[in-house]
């Protein structure tokens, strides 16, 4: 059992969720409430990671993060190591390829709030920030919850993009999914079986926990 890889995967998933939560709230709200010309384009861009092959997506990320890229050079000069094939680079890639999993459910969550309810909040004297905190977040919570769980679970399971952007450096970029792949390649069927079972258990538990929590939220509202 490769505990280092599991711990890395969990850290990666955790960081991705933490970074994407505010992004999901901001973007989900924007797409749910506002009408603007480029809205369809923005929604399409957000959806793109769902349809692109991980290799294509990974390739573009490599180009964007790699040596001689604007972002890559900036990172190199700031932190003294390159962005690709590092944990930070993996987090950045993970954040980007999880955008649809975080934003879409969040957007649906905010869309489920009747416009009059938001107007009522304003007419109750609530500032936009207070309205977000007291009214919108509690009501959009099931959507945000789904967003976070999908992101977490999806990060644990992602393989192609991680391999492209991160390589397979133990303790730095070797996630559990990649570790399982290595075991299979090395004919260690027992190790692969154990780690697969652990991954299935963690994923199942996470999703079940969310479903249970969101059903509680549902009951709270009725």
């Amino acid at each position: 059992m490769d505990w280092t890889a599991l711990w890395l995967s969990l850290r990666l998933a955790g960081w991705t969720v933490v970074i994407l939560l505010p992004v999901a709230v901001l973007m989900g709200r924007l797409l749910a409430y506002r009408k603007f010309h480029a809205k369809v384009l923005v929604e399409a861009l957000v959806m793109l990671p769902l349809v692109l092959p991980p290799t294509v997506f990974g390739f573009y990320l490599l180009v964007a993060f790699g040596r001689n890229s604007l972002l890559g050079d900036l990172w190199q000069s700031l932190f003294g190591h390159q962005l690709v094939f590092s944990f930070q680079g993996l987090v950045a890639a993970s954040v980007i390829f999880n955008l649809p999993f975080a934003i879409q459910p969040a957007q649906r969550g905010f869309e489920s709030i009747a416009p009059e309810v938001r107007e009522a909040a304003a007419c109750c004297g609530m500032s936009p920030l207070r309205s977000l905190w007291k009214v919108e977040l509690p009501l959009a919570w099931p959507g945000l919850m789904t967003a976070m769980v999908l992101t977490f679970a999806h990060t644990l399971g992602e393989f192609g993009i991680v391999l492209m952007v991160g390589g397979s450096i133990p303790g730095e970029t070797k996630t559990i999914a990649i570790s399982i792949y290595d075991r299979v390649q090395g004919f260690d069927d027992k190790g692969a079986a154990i780690m697969s079972a652990v991954l299935v258990t963690i994923s199942l538990f996470t999703i079940a926990l969310t479903l249970w929590l969101s059903s509680r939220v549902g009951r709270r509202l009725s």
């Binding site: 009059e116 309810v117 107007e119 009522a120 304003a122 007419c123 109750c124 009214v135 009501l139």
Partner: protein, 379 residues
């Protein structure tokens, strides 16, 4: 004036409306759906910003597009009751009310819920409340904001007739304690006539007429915009007795009036809306008729319209009853102002929700369900 508004816009619909509301006055904004009433209300609340508009409340400018003043909705002291109430579904009734306070005050919330007779249901979520109860929470929440203007957007349209009858009386009683200007948007003339001090009639985005109920009802132009079937007279009356057969005897200036089961104890002052098309006229006092109310009066103005109908004003000891009859009948009867005439009103033609509490204070307390103690406490 406590509330002054002027709106000019081309979208969403062409709009050119201006009117004023005095402190404590209830003005009904009436007109067909799509006439622009709600847009006017939303402009006052700060939920809509027309091309050109001015909103002034108690001398303070909330909106002046020309001067670039535009207070956001949450900075305007406005209480609004939405058509579908728009309660916060995740909060209890009490929490909904407290959400509108500057500082959450449970004691104050419970006092306001008392005011709308909802004290026992303070801990219920909106989903567990009936339509009428939700409406009361919405009213309580609007009042909790300590509004300088109270806005009601078709607040009775989502409840059934029986509940509406009760809510009308509650609002009338509650209003005696309100000092702010109130604007009621409605397409229901019963509502407007029972609740409003004054009406502003809007048609296709323009103010057609403005005036008291009596003035509007005597105005052919206003009636054209409202629909001629809405013409009705208002009679003040006092509940005299509930008879064993289910009829209630009311004392009206026009004599006794028998109506089916009116809610309220003897002595309660009410107002009765009598639709003009329900009133039959007769020169002689008819005998052998099923109708229970035969009111003698004098023919006043006889207004001929462009259609086959005629509106006859009947003066009964200083009060007015309106009757809408055919031009043919008016010609056959040769109605002339000053003639003695009998107005016949079927008891059953007066719907329950066409009777509501009188807007003035009762001389004595009644045991009507809507007045249990709470309204005596001034907010």
């Amino acid at each position: 004036m406590a509330l002054e508004i002027l709106v000019r816009a081309q979208t969403p619909i062409p709009l050119d409306v201006s009117f004023q509301v005095a402190p404590g006055e209830l003005v009904a904004l009436v007109g067909h759906s799509g006439s622009g009433k709600t847009t006017v209300l939303r402009t006052i609340a700060g939920l809509w910003r027309p091309a050109l508009a001015q909103v002034r409340v108690n001398g303070r400018t909330w909106l002046d597009t020309a001067a670039g003043v535009d207070l956001p909705a949450h900075r305007r002291r406005v209480g609004i009751v939405f058509q579908n109430y728009a309660l916060f579904p995740h909060m209890t009734a009490a929490q909904n009310v407290m959400a509108a306070m500057d500082r959450a005050d449970p004691a104050e919330a419970s006092r306001i819920l008392d005011l709308v007779n909802l004290h026992d249901l303070a801990d219920r979520k909106p989903a567990k409340l009936s339509g009428g109860q939700q409406q009361r929470v919405a009213v309580a929440r609007a009042l909790a904001r300590k509004p300088q203007a109270l806005l009601l957007d078709e607040p009775f349209s989502a409840v059934d007739r029986a509940t509406r009858e009760k809510l009308y009386s509650e609002i009338i009683v509650l209003r005696r304690h309100l000092q702010m200007p109130v604007v009621l948007v409605t397409h229901d003339m019963t509502e407007a006539q029972l609740l409003a001090d004054r009406m502003v009639v809007i048609d296709k985005g323009r103010v057609v007429r403005e005036g008291t109920t009596a003035q509007i009802m005597a105005d052919a132009g206003a009636l054209r915009a409202l629909g001629i079937r809405e013409v009705a007279a208002m009679l003040p009356a006092t509940i005299a007795a509930h008879d064993d057969d289910g009829l209630t005897r009311l004392d009206a200036p026009t004599g006794p009036l028998f109506l089916p089961g009116v809610t309220g104890a003897p002595g309660t002052r009410v107002q009765v809306r009598i639709m003009a098309h329900d009133v039959i006229l007769s020169r002689q006092r008819p005998v052998g008729l099923s109708a229970q109310n035969i009111i003698a009066g004098k023919v006043g103005e006889v207004v001929y319209g462009t259609g086959p109908g005629v509106l006859v004003h009947i003066d009964v000891s200083g009060h007015e009853i309106l009757s809408r009859i055919t031009r043919r009948a008016a010609d056959q009867m040769a109605l002339t102002p000053g003639d003695t005439i009998h107005a016949i009103v079927k008891s059953m033609s007066v719907a329950r929700d066409h009777v509501a509490r009188a807007p003035q204070e009762d001389p004595q307390t009644s045991d009507m369900t809507t007045s249990q103690g709470a309204p005596d406490k001034t907010p």
